[in-house]
């Protein structure tokens, strides 16, 4: 199992590009959910994080 996200590349605007390998079905699920809300993948993940509880 891979530990931690992929290596981040820095962008001046404070947005970071992260390259990773995701299972196809997870990626499809992610795209399906984010499109419902008209959000980008990054924005959708931020939304998930806002609702994340341990």
């Amino acid at each position: 199992m891979k530990k931690g996200p992929g290596r981040p590349r820095k962008y001046p605007q404070g947005v970071v590009a992260v390259t990773m390998t995701l299972p196809r079905d997870v990626l499809e699920e992610l795209d399906k959910a984010r499109k419902k809300l008209s959000l980008s993948r990054g924005e959708f993940i931020s939304l998930l994080l806002e609702h994340y509880k341990h």
């Binding site: 996200p5 299972p23 196809r24 997870v26 990626l27 699920e29 990054g42 931020s46 609702h51 994340y52």
Partner: protein, 215 residues
């Protein structure tokens, strides 16, 4: 815990994340020992939470749109109210001006009402005589005969008119007759009757002696 997947099932992808989001993911990943892919998979499979989150998000979006519409309506109302207020302020200023004029007119009317009938008659008579003095007088004076003629007494007993005029308005002061009401003096001419006497303007400041005012 999600089941392990084979590498060939995966797809390489790049996701653009806000820095705070990446930092949080790294923190969670460190705590749980799971990769971002695993975390996303876990989050997505918790359908109930996702459904609630989506509903909440959509609700907020809808509410935001409603608020935006409300802001537009309120801004429109505010603009109209401001225009109305401006119009009312102009009307108020106009009404204040009108009120000022009406008060002045009312004060004048009250003043006139307070005047007795004799005072009103004296005002009118004085204005009439002063006009004659302005038009036909010489240095602000005119002969009684001329004055009576200009006053419209062209026939009849002019001497009687003169006597009545003097008796009604003037006080005998020896050499002269004085009328405070008409602001006039009549200068007697020695040896001649009232019709030959001279009618003159009198200064308002006259009290002890006569002051002639040149026309």
């Amino acid at each position: 815990m999600p089941r392990p997947r084979k590498k060939q099932d995966g797809k390489i992808t790049t996701i653009y994340l806000e820095r705070w989001a990446l930092e949080k993911i790294m923190e969670i990943s460190k705590e749980t020992g799971l990769s971002l892919g695993d975390l996303i998979e876990i989050w997505l499979t918790k359908e109930e939470r996702i459904a609630r989150m989506v509903a909440e998000y959509e609700g907020l979006k809808k509410h935001s749109l409603e608020l935006e519409k409300l802001v537009i309506v309120l801004e429109d109302k505010l603009l109209k109210a401001e225009q109305q207020n401006e119009k009312l302020l102009l009307e108020r200023d106009a009404l204040r001006e009108e009120n000022k004029t009406l008060k002045a007119e009312l004060a004048e009317l009250r003043k006139q009402l307070r005047m007795t009938a004799r005072e009103r008659r004296a005002e009118e008579f004085k204005a009439e005589i002063y006009e004659i003095l302005d038009r036909y007088g010489k240095n602000g004076s005119i002969k009684m005969l001329e004055l009576l003629k200009k006053l419209g007494h062209s026939s009849g007993d002019l001497k009687k008119y003169a006597k009545d005029f003097l008796e009604q308005w003037f006080v005998d002061d020896g050499k002269m007759l004085v009328s405070d009401e008409l602001d006039l003096v009549v200068e007697k001419v020695h040896g001649l009757g009232e019709l030959a006497w001279i009618v003159k303007r009198m200064s308002h400041s006259f009290r002890g002696g006569l002051v002639e005012v040149k026309a």
